[in-house]
Symmetry: C2
Subunit: 300 residues, 2 copies
């Protein structure tokens, strides 16, 4: 019998608005809701039920390692159900979720503060897509900062970021994606979030991030990536799947010989990154190498 | 009294679909129509009338030197109206238009043939925007070539190109603009047209062209520009105006502090160009310099 996709997994697969960190926290929060709402009669039955959903969630968004990692930590924190009272099991599972979500929020905020400190006030920051970590950095600096943001099609989550920056009183230039090179010369620094950071410092993030990194290097401005360490994986880029989504989000052409592509992520190699900023602070690319590149022996 | 904008000038200013070469030829063709349709009673009156429209047309699209140049050549080819019969004047003005349009078409086709010869069959060509010259190159090579094309927002003239490539039977990947870096690794060569080429070899073309050039260099694939020589100017980039158009083409946000930008063109510096291809053939960047850059003593 073919197993039905759990509604939570379907929602996570369909989500186009949230970045990896927000979505990972939402998953673990929703798993706590599932634990509370379950009608399972025993701890063993409840464990079997939520472990199955959690395992499916871990694989739902292969370009977002944070989901795999945070849900994995929750699974590891679950008590042994054998011999557990269902009430105890439920309470400890919910507490584990709360603790992981709080820790992830704090790590994200800490990374954002480090980014804000590194950049300093009264600078023009150019970004791409909508990262919750980058937004927190803007919150730290508002209103004494300026922004250049991109539409970030599809689904154009940059429009949401523009609303958030406007609410913070930050003077913002909003561009369609293809204008990046025309405006990067007006920025002091480029700052993006990450969906995943691999062991060699490669950054998987919304498609277009690598274009911003190339444009930043071309103009000699720093390219910073900020993210909580949860987003790191020891896997290499070649082992990661870059998700494609519905081509109809790009265009409906229906032309013979023409294939509409909708690859959501691209990979920015470490040579294009000036500094990786997580909750422990920035790791700058070795300064001796004009092409950049992280110190292999240090973070990330 | 404030002078009304001539309808032809208004149409040229509003045109978002055609590249500089197509639009320049259309202008000169429309001037011939204006000569034929005019009710002016004498050659002197007709000359004054069409010279005024032509002068306004030359200034209508400051990022498209081809219009200034081709209309300028037509003005220079007009007979002296003093003492001319109006019938003779009209005939010579129309003939001058026909000759200039034919010569421009031939030059464009020749540039496209040179590009096709340089690239050769069975390659994957990546382009941006919709250039009539690049389309002719695809026609030369079809169906033994493959294409990777971009939407090229706004107004997404890449959708028109996708239709044209489909009709030629060319297998095509169609991308939204921010996917460029994710796909350039699948291309053998990048090829674009130009709206204007300055004396030092800088290329003014649809915004996003510089991103493609950066992505091509990053992957080590050649970046070719093909255009008829009419598009060259001796002016420097700083003397050119990069047109902005209605921000509503990008987004309607109406947010305090947020300015929507719609700069239509960007400038690709000569260091990013592998070869400039016009009707006289390709001029390759000096091979001794890994960063490229044109020979200042040779074309362009």
């Amino acid at each position: 019998m073919r197993q039905e996709t759990h509604p939570l997994v379907a929602l996570v697969r369909a989500d186009r608005a949230r970045g990896a960190g927000e979505l990972a926290r939402w998953c673990v929060d929703q798993l706590a809701h599932a634990v509370r709402a379950s009608a399972a009669p025993t701890a063993v039955a409840l464990h079997a039920e939520v472990s199955s959903v959690a395992s499916s969630l871990r694989a739902a968004r292969p370009s977002m390692v944070a989901i795999e990692n945070l849900v994995g930590r929750w699974l590891a924190a679950l008590p042994d159900p054998t011999g557990s009272e269902i009430g105890d099991y439920r309470q400890r599972a919910v507490e584990a979720s709360d603790q992981l979500v709080t820790a992830s929020r704090r790590a994200t905020a800490a990374a954002a503060r480090h980014a804000a400190r590194l950049i300093g006030p009264d600078r023009t920051i150019m970004t791409h897509s909508r990262s919750a970590t980058v937004l927190m950095c803007f919150q730290e600096l508002a209103p004494n900062t300026r922004a250049i943001t991109t539409e970030s099609r599809p689904p154009a989550e940059g429009r949401v970021l523009a609303q958030e920056l406007s609410a913070l009183g930050i003077v913002t230039d909003f561009l369609s994606d293809q204008q990046m090179a025309a405006f990067v010369g007006h920025a002091d620094v480029a700052l993006v979030g990450a969906d995943t950071v691999t062991g060699d410092g490669s950054v998987v993030n919304k498609a277009g991030t690598r274009l911003l990194a190339l444009a930043a290097r071309d103009r000699g401005i720093p390219f910073y990536v900020c993210y909580e360490a949860l987003k790191r994986t020891e896997r290499s880029v070649s082992e990661l799947v870059l998700e494609s989504h519905d081509p109809g989000e790009v265009a409906t052409l229906n032309l013979p010989h023409v294939t509409v592509r909708n690859v959501y992520f691209d990979v920015t190699p470490p040579e294009l990154v000036t500094a990786w900023i997580d909750e422990d602070g920035p790791t700058e690319a070795p300064s001796g190498d004009p092409e950049g590149g992280p110190a292999r022996s240090s973070r990330p």
